[in-house]
Amino acid sequence: MSREPHLILEPLGQQPETDTILSFVRTAEHAKFDAVLFPDLAGEFEPTTLLATLAAATSHIGLITTGSTAHHEPYHLARAIASIDHISKGRVGWHVATAHDDGEALGLDVHADPNGRAEEFLDVVTGLWDSFDDDAFSRDKQSGLYFDPERMHALGYNGKHLSVAGPLNIARPPQGRPVIVADSSADDLRFADVVFSDQRDLAEAARFYAAIKSQAAEFGRAPGDITVFSTLPVITGATADHIESWFHAPAADGFTVAFPYQPGALDDFVEQVIPELRRRGLFRHEYTGTTLRDHLGLARPLSRYATGLLQ
């Protein structure tokens, strides 16, 4: 259970040029948001490319990319996200989308069973991230051993939809496994670190929250392993009250809020709501950790091969 609610910022509206996007993210970092979550919209910058730029220009804030399991090859997406985790020193997240309607327009494969593919896709990506044990790379000049072959694992995945040999050609990400963000409709709780709750009503949201936390056990996870986020309604003078009552119900561990990119759009929230939350002990004054998992109060997962159950 988090000690304080978390805040994730989402940009709203047409994407502007680079400097304005960067300014938006820096404002969020200055205000100590947990993360900024970027959509993947037609006509906008490819999100992993954008996030890599933002990673190099920031130091603490989390950066979450949206990536569709229908539109990508898991090897490429796993690679790009792991790469950003290294560049950002552990601040990347992946918002899993399963959107598949416009694949044909883009020249991408259309899948008869997008949900089946999504489930395998998650298996593959999380498996690829474990390709090298944390201590696989000794990079020892003296002995000449760059990495220990015993600590490298070829995934060898052969499913109904996906066949991926691995290994991924990148060291294990700093977060072990980048943060995985799932939509409310997701029934796959094997890997989700963040789940969005769609409820508008406090009582229903509290029921949803309790259901998710108890379902965690069915997937071999502790209730604290999954954080539930709710979207804030229109910001008013009562927003701090809303956050407080939902957090304590409990109906949410964190909240998402959306603002346009333009400078000034965030001002009211940053200058009024966040200080009020801090006065009530409901938001951080400083980042106390360095990774997105740290900010969200999530443990760093062990490699699937570290448990000794898999070779």
């Binding site: 954008l50 790009a80 327009a105 072959p149 040999a165």
Partner: protein, 415 residues
Amino acid sequence: MTRNLTLGALVNAGGGHVAGWRHPEAHAAGLMDFDFHAELATTLERGRFDTLFIADAVAVWGHQLDSLSRTARAERFEPLTLLAALSTVTSHIGLVATATTTYNEPYHIARKFASLDNLSHGRAGWNIVTSIVPFEAANFGRAEHLEHSLRYRRADEFVDVVRRLWDGELTHHEGEHFTLRGPVTISRPPQGHPVLFQAGSSDTGKDFAARHGEVLFTVQPELAAAQAFYTDIKARVGKAGRDPDTVLVWPVLSPLVADTETEARRRAAELDELIHDDVARRLIQDAIGDLDLSGHSLDGPVPDIPETNRSKSSRDVLLGLARKENLTIRQLAHRISGGSIVAGTPEQLADRMELWFSEGGADGFNVSFPYLPGPAVDFVEQVMPILRRRGLVPAEYEGSTLRDNLGLPRPEVVR
């Protein structure tokens, strides 16, 4: 207008030499160290290199773990994310990423490179490769590896679609390999098209390069062969209906400088001594074909090798070299290891570059540093000033985009 000598810097933190990471002055953990890359990029920009260049593979290269585990080749940043990040610590240097047409889709490539071009304000380049490593196919659910000529046909259509996406023209495409029902919207690149790089050396490869490449890489240890390649490829460019002056030929150059030639050669030999036997054998196998060398002494001759689906061109070049110079397996491996290191004084390096540049062997070079960061710093501080003094390279960046700095025209809209 004076023709400038143009220069790319191959960024491989482990070094171009297979044992480069073991050099006493190398940063062994550099491969996944972003700060190291950032510092390197700013050094190279200070030296006024035209581009950074990142090679790639979409697999861990190899199943021979004994040798692989002794090289720095098993891990790397994904190129586009690395370059996008480096765009924030640089302002002028070009950012060229390798991406394969075999295991990607045109939409993704067009979009990523357009994004990089926008994020970097017009500095992106795409090194087009058609993959030659079977391990890669297995990461994309494909058991078989595309046969040599088929992958070039796919690549032709791929590049055509990508360019039309960059032009904002694509509402519908139906071809042998790709069907896009459209319409597709991606952000327009400031350069019109990111600059296209290519490295084909087989006949099919050279024709492909002549059709699409604006900067063409080649591996040419000797001037005569470099001149022959240069003449041949420029003729092919002309036959493809393009102006040969709008295409640059860049042989790879692997420099190691020191105050004296003797000292430079000593430094090169020092690197070769760091190569493990298993690595030496694997170098030959990777370059020419998966033959069993375990029964052959490393200090004996190179055996004959049958053709494979691997790169035909490197096999011919290397076998020819081995026969011509009576090289042992170990000696041939040492040649491959650093991509023929050119060891000498800064003046000697500058002389060699000037000779190739003025005698029809090169329009520029893709510089591969045997290990990092030392040779890169040495080149920037000792060789570049000589090239500037000789009027071969400008003192400052004069253009605002990579295209401008390379003296390349804006492409016409593809119809």
